[in-house]
Amino acid sequence: MKDQSAKHIQARATEYLLEQRDNNHWGKAEQAELAQWLAQSPAHEIAYWRAEEGLRRTELLAALRTPARENKNAPMRPPRASRDLWSIFGRAAAALLMIAILAAGTHLFMTPDEGQYFATPIGGRQTITLPDGSRIELNTNTALRAVVNSGQRIIHLEKGEAYFKVEHDEKRPFTVYAAGGKVVDLGTEFLVRNTSDQLEVALFEGRAEFDTNGRPGPQRRAMLAPGNVVLASNQSVDLIKEDSKTIAARIGWRRGLLIFNNTTLAEAAAEFNRYNREKITIVDEKTASREIYGTFQADNAALFARLARDAFGFKIERKGEEILIR
């Protein structure tokens, strides 16, 4: 007697589907056997569709790689060879930059110290190590000037966003100027982001002093502790405290990720557009205000658009370099 229970049929259908997709030796004979099985009963065919649909739905899992999951010690994320490679490249690049900085240092005595200029293109990311051992990670579309010599350590963040990991030195305070504001480190890790309309500083470790330093808008000075975020615009200066998950989402880009938590689609699109030449446009306001969450590869706007279509039910349309979501 054949077992015709739904559970049995479903198991069989799933097995066929996975075998068809995963087995390299799947050929004509196997395909014929499957076709015959499917033709035997609508129940078989429907079960096979359910398996296909179930498997397709789990594709969304790629978007679920939240930092919380990665931090679990469970064997969720196997080590990746590519990461190790990157860190080797990173170190090599840093060493070369060190040499470049040392070379530049030779004529610094002659001219006023204009410092070194570093910049990344759209979608670029670069880590630099300064002669004092401090490290700066530049996010996409970022430019900064670093004046580091025996007497001072000054960074001018001209545009974009950078993560600073500072080697503390009592004699040479590490000062970052951005959008008219100033951050003086006291041995810390912090993030500075210069958007078109506001300056954001987020402190991850240690302590640092923030000073609006005469920039347009209200004035304020504050000592920052880990979890503190300053949002300074021409209208207001807010000092807030963010929980570890929220603040960690700010630096997902260091791993090439965009992490959204109750982010509106408009904000998410703006984030993607910082990293990609291909621009996402949200067509109507109602769609723009929809909230989403998930973790995405910053450089894959197309995947994001596809997920927006499949999971969130929006319509997408391509127009040259533009992806319209409505």
């Binding site: 229970s5 739904a6 559970k7 049929i9 479903q10 198991a11 799933t14 097995e15 589907l17 996975l18 075998e19 068809q20 997709r21 995963d22 087995n23 395909q31 499957l34 076709a35 499917l38 033709a39 009963s41 609508p42 129940a43 065919e45 429907i46 079960a47 569709w49 359910r50 398996a51 296909e52 649909e53 179930g54 498997l55 397709r56 739905r57 789990t58 594709e59 969304l60 899992l61 790629a62 978007a63 679920l64 790689r65 469970a74 064997p75 969720m76 196997p78 929809r290 909230e291 989403i292 969450y293 998930g294 995947l303 999971a311 969130f312 039910g313 929006f314």
Partner: protein
């Protein structure tokens, strides 16, 4: 990314006998009927407190819907699906000679006539992501690991076997079990 080849699927639909072409039937079923599965399961579980597995009821309902749609696709899908479900339940009650006092009353309480769009799509989407994550967390550890390596990392059977230090046959079994469990968990009614 876990892209799956789509090319092989189209060839295996049996040729349409009459009425709805096989491809259209499949597309409709996947787009219109399967997304209602969670609501259907909730309805069945609420109304059928009998020993039989509700998944067998679901299968029966799907087959009936399939047969009807083969002649002509019913629009909209939702009221049709729930009418079929309701009729099937009534048949079963009669056959089993049981009168579920609260059950019968409830059969009509579901608003099957209306085809309101339901909750906000973005809420559904958020739900979908949460549900997927929760479903994944409920798999046995080895199963889960294999599913993640396949679906998230896009590894082949052989690569998964090497990574997990098990045979390919075991990988195959883990994946079969994992995907089956996922399908079932995803269609479960929320408690």
């Amino acid at each position: 990314m876990a892209e799956t080849p789509e090319s092989t699927q189209e060839t295996m639909n049996p040729p349409a006998q009459s009425g709805t072409p096989a491809g259209a039937l499949k597309a409709w079923f996947i787009a219109e009927v399967l997304p209602l599965e969670q609501a259907l399961m909730q309805y069945l579980q609420h109304n059928w407190r009998h020993t039989a597995d509700v998944s067998d009821l679901r299968q029966e309902i799907y087959v009936r819907v399939y047969e009807a749609a083969k002649k002509q696709i019913p629009h909209p899908a939702k009221p049709f699906l729930f009418t079929v479900a309701r009729n099937l339940l009534i048949d079963h009650f009669r056959r089993a000679r049981i009168v579920p006092i609260d059950g019968v009353a409830d059969l009509d309480s579901i608003d099957i006539a209306s085809d309101t769009p339901g909750p906000d799509r973005s809420l559904i989407a958020r739900d979908e992501l949460r549900r997927l994550q929760a479903a994944l967390d409920r798999l046995p550890p080895r199963c889960r690991e294999a599913v993640i390596l396949r679906q998230v990392e896009g590894l082949s059977r052989r690569e998964i076997a090497a990574r997990m230090n098990i045979t390919e046959k075991t990988v195959k079994n883990h994946l079969n079990d994992g995907v089956n469990l996922l399908i079932d968990i995803l269609s479960e009614a929320e408690s």
